[in-house]
């Protein structure tokens, strides 16, 4: 579902409600940072579940053909190789994923480490047929937070990586979509009361009250984030309706 950047809520706007709910208006029971962290965790959890935030980032093709996944990124969606720069994209190619493609990188044009993979054109394996050579197709694999690019990617200037983003890593104050605010307020209130009840057991009742409507709000929040927009749905209906696939 699309939303306007101008409508995003800040962490402080969420805290304003949570502090009243918890009864910690002067923030002497829990620190301001605790509330901020819980809000960030909550929006991150929604991001991990729904992938509602998509980022892309361009990198110069690394000499070693190894690209570190940037902070705040998870769940690679697409990798593209192209010539030019971000303002003049030319000769774009999709970089496909190759299973278990592992290599130690390339330190120079002359030094060649080679690679291993289930499907390797140098592997004289009768099981695999119709093997495409690594000079003909661009591919990558991910291992331990590093994107390993095939040798043929060297022919392109830049690599564009599209990934799901961790919302709290955005360097902006306003990161909360308005239609999940109710859930986040409820979740952070519950978390705060849970933390406080270890010192004040009488808060257990409030914690239970806060938990009562949590599941419904969480379900609504996930549904809203995953829900396709009308425009996207209509386009999909039309594409599927042509039956020419």
């Amino acid at each position: 579902m699309e939303f306007s950047f101008a409508d995003l809520l800040s962490i402080d706007e969420i805290k304003a409600d949570v502090l009243v709910n918890v009864g910690d208006l002067d923030q002497k029971l829990l620190t301001p940072g605790f509330y901020s962290r819980r809000v960030k965790r909550c929006i991150d959890e929604l991001g991990y579940t729904t992938y509602f935030l998509t980022h892309f980032q361009d990198f110069p093709t690394p000499e070693s053909l190894q690209l570190f996944i940037p902070s705040g990124a998870f769940n690679l969606n697409n990798v593209f190789a192209f010539n030019g720069d971000c303002c003049d994209v030319g000769g774009m190619q999709t970089v496909h994923n190759k299973r278990q493609f592992l290599m130690r990188g390339k330190t120079s044009a002359t030094q060649h480490f080679g690679y291993t993979s289930r499907n390797n054109d140098r592997n004289n394996d009768g099981f695999f047929t119709n093997v495409v050579g690594d000079s003909e197709i661009l591919f990558y694999a991910e291992n331990n937070g590093i994107i390993l690019l095939s040798d043929s990617c060297r022919l392109y200037d830049r690599i564009r990586v599209v990934f799901s983003g961790t919302p709290s890593k955005i360097d902006e104050q306003k990161i909360i979509p308005p239609f999940v605010a109710e859930y986040i307020i409820n979740q952070v209130t519950t978390d705060a009361l849970f933390a406080l009840k270890s010192k004040q057991p009488n808060l257990r009742l409030q914690w239970l009250d806060s938990q009562a409507g949590l599941e419904n709000k969480k379900r609504d929040a996930i549904y809203r984030l995953r829900h396709l927009s009308k425009s996207e749905r209509f386009t999909l209906y039309e594409a599927l309706g042509r039956m020419n696939y």
């Binding site: 002067d26 923030q27 002497k28 029971l29 301001p32 940072g33 605790f34 962290r37």
Partner: protein, 235 residues
């Protein structure tokens, strides 16, 4: 009409009939009792009621640096009540020179030396100039955490100042809930009556008469028991 310390003290002295030259309870004594019982009643009042009527703001408290540890601290400018969670210190913020409403934006958060280590585990809670903390140690000091990289000459402090910070001028209006004045009077009168009932250990009337010097220490205010004790000694 506002009540002053002098009015209250003289009223109590009059009720206790201590308004002659050789009175046993003096004015300063009475004012001291006022502070002792006033503190107790005011502390209970503040804890029971969500009132800021007795909050005193010190807008420019100087920040010092400990010469040994280089830790920044302030000295509490007045006595405060030792409430739970250090609630006697209502807030500490950057001074009004930084921002006219600094108390409403960046406030120092309370911590303790033993709890402060946890704060450094996460970026959100880590002490920093935009997320500073304070803790009490080495009374009357309040240490400031998170200001290590900046120099702050002053901070603003809001304190629940103790009633016993009685000003030198007894004609000032008392800063005390007026509905509690009768209770304060009653408690001091009880103490005064008790004080006057306790007999002196020695009689010193200035007369050098060996025969009248008491030879028996009074051991009880119960006259009958005293008489019996004296009779036994005489026998």
């Amino acid at each position: 009409m506002a009540t002053t310390y002098r009015q209250l003290a003289y009223d109590l002295l009059t009720i206790l009939k201590q308004n002659f030259n050789d009175k046993e309870i003096t004015l300063s004594h009475c004012v001291y009792w006022l502070s002792v019982y006033g503190d107790r009643l005011l502390a209970q009042h503040i804890q029971k009621h969500d009132t800021q009527a007795y909050l005193q703001v010190f807008p420019q408290v100087p920040v010092y640096k400990d010469t040994v540890t280089q830790r920044q601290y302030i000295d509490i400018p007045a006595s405060v009540y030792d409430f739970d969670l250090d609630n006697g210190i209502d807030y500490i913020s950057y001074p009004y020179q930084v921002d006219i409403n600094s108390f409403a934006y960046t406030r120092f958060t309370r911590t303790t030396p033993s709890q402060a280590f946890r704060l450094y585990y996460t970026d959100e809670e880590k002490p920093a100039p935009d997320n500073p903390y304070w803790y009490r140690a080495d009374a009357p000091r309040i240490y400031l955490l998170g200001l290590e990289c900046i120099d702050v000459p002053f901070v603003e402090v809001g304190l629940q100042v103790a009633f016993s910070n009685i000003p030198c001028d007894l004609d000032e209006e008392i800063k005390f809930p007026l509905e509690l004045v009768p209770i304060l009077q009653r408690q001091i009168l009880d103490l005064g009556r008790f004080c006057l009932m306790i007999p002196a250990d020695r009689i010193n009337d200035g007369d050098y008469d060996v025969a009248n010097i008491p030879k028996q220490k009074i051991i009880s205010v119960n006259q009958d028991a005293q008489a019996q004790a004296n009779a036994q000694i005489t026998e």
